[in-house]
């Protein structure tokens, strides 16, 4: 479990720090950060990742566009994706599911909430997209 490599994507430095610190507390040490979707694409292609945690609202390329790119990319199509966002409307969740994110967390979240979502995705059938 601790060997899982995470890519944490958020344009807010504060949020990246919070997610990264929570992951470290949960026992994960392999973590890469990106400030937006384009940055994430570059990091994915150069460094790879086993698990993507992404914000939705970001400049350059948002989380939904990033998810679409990931799912359309043969190499990363099965990458587990957890969307972490302030957007909590029904339509937003449905849009994210249509893009085949694995799960969805509404900010502000708790450490326990993040842990449960990550555990559920990792335990699901090979983390296959929903």
């Amino acid at each position: 479990m601790g060997a899982t490599k995470f890519l944490v994507v958020d344009d807010s430095l504060t949020m990246r720090r919070i997610v990264v610190n929570t992951l470290k507390t949960l026992g994960f040490s392999a973590i890469v950060e990106a400030a937006d979707g384009k940055d994430a694409m570059t990091k994915l292609m150069s460094e790879g990742a086993d698990f993507l945690i992404t914000d939705w609202n970001m400049p350059e390329m948002n989380g939904l566009e990033l998810t679409k790119w990931v799912r359309g990319n043969e190499e990363f199509a099965e990458l587990p994706i957890l969307m972490v966002t302030t957007r909590g409307n029904k339509e937003d969740v449905i849009d994210a599911m249509k893009m085949r994110v694995n799960n969805y967390i509404v900010k502000p979240f708790t450490a326990q909430g993040l842990k449960e979502k990550i555990d559920a995705i990792l335990k699901s059938s090979n983390g296959k997209p929903a």
Binding site: I18, P59, N62, T86, K90, I94, M97, I105, K107, P108
Partner: protein, 183 residues
Amino acid sequence: MSMRNAVEALFGIIPVLDQIKQSIEQTTGAIPRASIQLNNVTQATEMATVEILNVLDRMTGRIEVAEGAIQRLRQGPANTAESLEAISQALADTRQDSMNIAMALQVQDITSQQIAGVSHMIETVRSQLLEALGQLEPGQRSPAGPSPGEATAFDGNASFTGSTERQENADAIIKQWNKADNE
């Protein structure tokens, strides 16, 4: 200027004045929304601050418990196990509390999105007013200038709340989605 020319000029001004009136009405409507949004920022920061202060109060109490246990250890070997357990528990609880403080700091991201929403609203109002002014004095219109919020992506409806309702709703939708997908 003949009377006829004067009347024609007046008729030409009326639609311009109408458009200016509409612009002012639209921009006036945006002000209360901006005010509500800024009030949300105040409420969110206050909620997070109170949450952090509550956690700090609990941490202070735990430090006192740990200090008492250390004092007992210094006095002699009696109750060593009990004292060590108290210290261990205080440390574990403090670790959890430090996580809770970090979580409350999500308010920074949420309020920055709310403020970006207000900034966008102000920029829209400014553009509309410039447009209206431009109709009065076509040659005198100031350039719109760069928008401070142009490079920012934000959720204007972002909110900081202690309620789990939005997450529960999202979970219910995902559950339904996955169920339908498996059938």
